[in-house]
């Protein structure tokens, strides 16, 4: 079927070093230019408990309790990189009292409703947070406000690295 030289030439093909670097490099050096179009569906799970101990809410992000900050990584697929530049972040908020959720960057919506910058909930809901990675220098803020106070959640997106930070309650 094939000449020996063809088979040898084929088997001599090596993966490029640049590819190796992309796949095994540490996340902070994983380079992805903004010119790649990306759609990320990263799922943050925020659980705000109405029954708190020590008057503090429990917030869980990606299965990890959010004490100060949580980090995780995401790699967009080639298909996602070709779709569009918007990042859509579903956030599940478990609220047991009237809670106002607002964003300073991007827009949010409850399922099947219009995009806005503020929503009000009083029971567990999933919120879709739509952001443009190139806006706000990759840093986005959400305020979660109820009778207990205001919590500020900051999301930083730096190529593949996502960092979510909770600031002290006001």
């Amino acid at each position: 079927m094939f000449a020996e030289k063809e088979i040898i030439a084929y088997r001599n093909i090596k993966a490029p070093d640049a590819l190796r670097e992309k796949i095994i490099a540490r996340p902070k050096s994983y380079k992805k230019t903004i010119s790649f179009i990306a759609t990320i569906a990263a799922c943050l799970v925020l659980i705000i408990s109405g029954m708190v101990i020590n008057n503090q809410s429990n917030i869980v992000v990606n299965g990890q309790k959010l004490n100060d900050s949580v980090e995780f990584y995401y790699v967009a697929t080639a298909m996602e990189r070709t779709v569009n530049s918007t990042v859509v972040v579903p956030i599940q908020v478990k609220a047991w009292r009237d809670t106002k959720i607002s964003v300073l960057s991007g827009t949010i919506s409850l399922e099947n409703l219009d995009q806005t910058q503020e929503v009000n909930i009083s029971s567990p809901k999933e919120i879709l947070w739509k952001i443009e990675p190139q806006d706000a220098q990759g840093e986005f803020e959400m305020l979660i406000e109820d009778k207990k106070g205001v919590k500020k959640v900051t999301l930083k997106y730096d190529n593949t690295k996502v960092t979510v930070t909770k600031e002290k309650e006001k």
Partner: protein
């Protein structure tokens, strides 16, 4: 959902074991260095997300190759036109082999995916009929039939 925390050691070890074979399989099937690199990255992204458990090294190898075959199928379907990158743009291929490889890849590109898969896996990568059947999740007799048909097609193509 695409949230994960990659285990760098596992990924690095897997890439050292399978990176080359995955890349050249993707290059043969997709015809473009850029697409081949994308395909390899996507396979490793799936590996990182799924974190599959393997019984042994054969199981692990089969997972990677099967995932790459499926990835190439998906990407091929999305391509409206087959795009070829001249191999002189691919720096990791020796210059004296570029012509041989270019001709080879053009040949393979003219086969439909089901024939290209068996040709690349059996004749170029050297997997046995049974191993090829296992990777493609088809019967050995189906592999033989496709190889036979692919051989006829390649003979015709070489005459042109």
């Amino acid at each position: 959902m695409h949230l994960f925390k990659p285990n760098k050691i596992d990924v690095e070890a897997a890439f050292l074991r399978y990176g080359d074979v995955l890349y050249r399989l993707a290059l043969a099937r997709l015809g473009s260095d850029a697409d081949a690199q994308d395909a390899v990255q996507d396979v490793f992204a799936k590996y990182i997300i799924a974190k599959p458990k393997f019984n042994d090294e054969n199981h692990e190898k089969a997972w990677f190759l099967r995932t790459m075959v499926n990835q190439c199928h998906d990407m091929s379907r999305r391509q409206k036109l087959r795009i070829f990158t001249p191999l002189d743009d691919v720096k990791n291929i020796a210059q004296d082999e570029q012509t041989v490889l270019s001709d080879l890849l053009v040949l393979i590109a003219q086969l439909s995916p089901i024939y290209a898969d068996v040709v690349v896996l059996h004749f170029l990568e050297g997997f046995t009929i049974d191993e090829t059947a296992n990777l493609l999740e088809i019967t050995p007799s189906a592999v033989k039939m496709r190889l036979s048909r692919a051989r006829e097609m390649l003979q015709e193509l070489r005459k042109e």
